[in-house]
Symmetry: none
Subunit: 196 residues, 4 copies
DNA sequence: GATGAATGAGTATTCATTCAT
DNA sequence: CATGAATGAATACTCATTCAT
């Protein structure tokens, strides 16, 4: 009875939803949420303004979905080895993996950093960010302690700051430092900090 | 009927200009440039919309002046001891002073981080930021080298990232780590990184 | 694979057409023509937007059909006893029947009153309403005259206004007066007016 | 200091506010609230769309102000002679005055009837309308009783309906009956109803 | 210098309607 | 017959900017 099968409709929906989200992410990341208009998104995506509202209730909802989706892609892939013991190799792998995540999701990270700095845009973002970050801090803390640090709290702060800072350089000023070298140096520095 | 003296006019101009800039800084820092309207600035400053345009050509110009002014207050106070030798005490003082600058100019830093992440807002900002940063990197590089580091470039990267990251935590998530302790730990970590 | 018979198709058509009209009537009556969207009608009717256009050329056409249909249900059932003499009993029955019509077609009446007041929505409505009303006025006039009124024109005005007003209360403010009592009082008042 | 005096600004505001309200009333009355756009109002008023929002927060606020203003002009002028005894002359004067109010505020009444029929447009209107109407009903009831009616409640219903109906004809179909004659006949009918 | 009325282009959003399937 | 994706024009509303006073 129905003309296109349910699957066909689903495929179209999925494809268009992704198209809109990808396009919006590019623009939000580059210009910011408020400086990006629905017209621009639609134009860049090659669709009509109206269609956008066929898939999203509002511009804000696009952002929220992007945040949700970003959190998932970024944090779900982290193997925090909860409860277990983290070996040196695993810790290094975790750091390298995190750098890869930034490399491969640059726009998500750009968006995230901008939301972090201007929390009024998406009220829930900063909170969620901290919640998602906590297990990471915990894993790192346990590892640092297990390595015999005599100031695990202090080392955690220094290391967290260093990694966050490296990511920020990555995202905002990748030409200041060569990022592959930065990665090595950060890993080295972690152990210098811990083993003293 | 008596006309105001030139000095009186100048005083008024200066005072109003500062009022507008301060108010704009608060709003830009908190909500972002695009999400802040001239009406909001005028309302919060207790003046009329029109008056804003008596002192600034456009909303963009307010931002540009804020950037300029921010760069000046932040970087002018840095004593980089160019050409001379930086002692350990001077380096520590430099770091502490930098942390103080963030503490005391939180809104400027908020604005700066947001501009850093979304360069389309103020085209020249990122470039300028790098230019202003270069002497700082140079000073740090020289200091690290003078301390006998066997990888001064690498240590510079790690230390720069750590400081930048600490500032970001300061600005965006000051409740995650106690900032006075963070300051100590960063200083300690600097030397752990260098002396290895 | 067996094709549906012409009858089956016709049944479906009729059934769907009625479904759409009923749903539209509810919404038009409650919220008004302009405040009701095709989406809302389709959603409430449990069909797709597109299907609506399979049965009606436009939103306006749904309204026009509703008007037509309303006129028919309302006025066709009136036995005006044209040319013949209307007895007192027949007149009373006519009034009671009219009240019943309002009671049973409340939404139609709501829609009609709103169209009456805002004639721009359906250009032809007011005219048609007057045309359909004329034989009613004539019947009433003849009856009033036959009852020996010494000012039949004047009495017609008063009685017409009273009935119209009672219907309006019915439709717009049924809680102000108990409608079954109102019906009795209106009938009584008619004769008070005529017999003086 | 200020260019235009406070009074000048006030005058402009008052004048423009009135202009917008008058224009909006015309259009709301003729086409309905939802079918009237801000563009149409602005165009007809000879001002820009933006200016409308300098004076009113929203289209809805214009309507609300019109309702408020309408209630005031219509009901404030009614002398209900509360607590006192209403003479026959006073009652007649009240009816005549009410007819005049409709005559002179035709558009307000059009708007009001449309809001009465479609209460979703302005949630509070119907309620308010009933509240404002109550003292009128009370005054009429007392008068009817004082005239020796043996069914004051019933007579009130009939008379209220008649007046409301007459107003509706006035507003929606003034060419069906000559309104000055209608006025006389309604007054007459009132007494026919009461005195039986 | 100061005001706020006025504008017009822009923004998010809605909606009647079309059409491929 | 039926679906819902797609469009484009329209809608309510915002906002940087201008300007007469």
């Amino acid at each position: 009875m129905s003309p296109r099968s349910a699957k066909q409709f689903n495929d179209i929906r999925k494809q268009k939803t992704e198209l809109i989200m990808e396009t919006a992410l590019e623009l939000f990341a580059e210009k910011g949420f408020h400086a990006t208009s629905i017209s621009q998104i639609a134009k860049k995506a090659g669709i009509s303004k109206g269609l956008t509202y066929n898939y999203f209730e509002s511009k804000k909802e696009i952002l929220d979905e992007l945040i949700q989706h970003g959190f998932n892609t970024i944090f779900d892939s982290l193997d925090l080895n909860k409860d277990g013991i983290v070996t040196k190799e695993e810790f290094i792998h975790f750091i390298r993996h995190s750098f890869s995540l930034v490399r491969e999701n640059l726009q998500h990270w750009k968006l995230f950093f901008s939301l972090l700095v201007q929390p009024h845009v998406a009220e829930t973002f900063s909170k969620e960010y901290k919640i998602k970050g906590e297990p990471v801090f915990l894993m790192m803390y346990n590892f640092i302690k297990s390595q015999g640090s005599n100031d695990p709290e202090g080392d955690l702060m220094a290391i967290s700051a260093m990694i966050e800072g490296a990511f920020l350089y990555f995202v905002a000023a990748p030409d200041v430092f060569p990022m592959d070298i930065m990665e090595e140096k950060v890993i080295n520095a972690c152990f210098k900090i811990i083993n003293n």
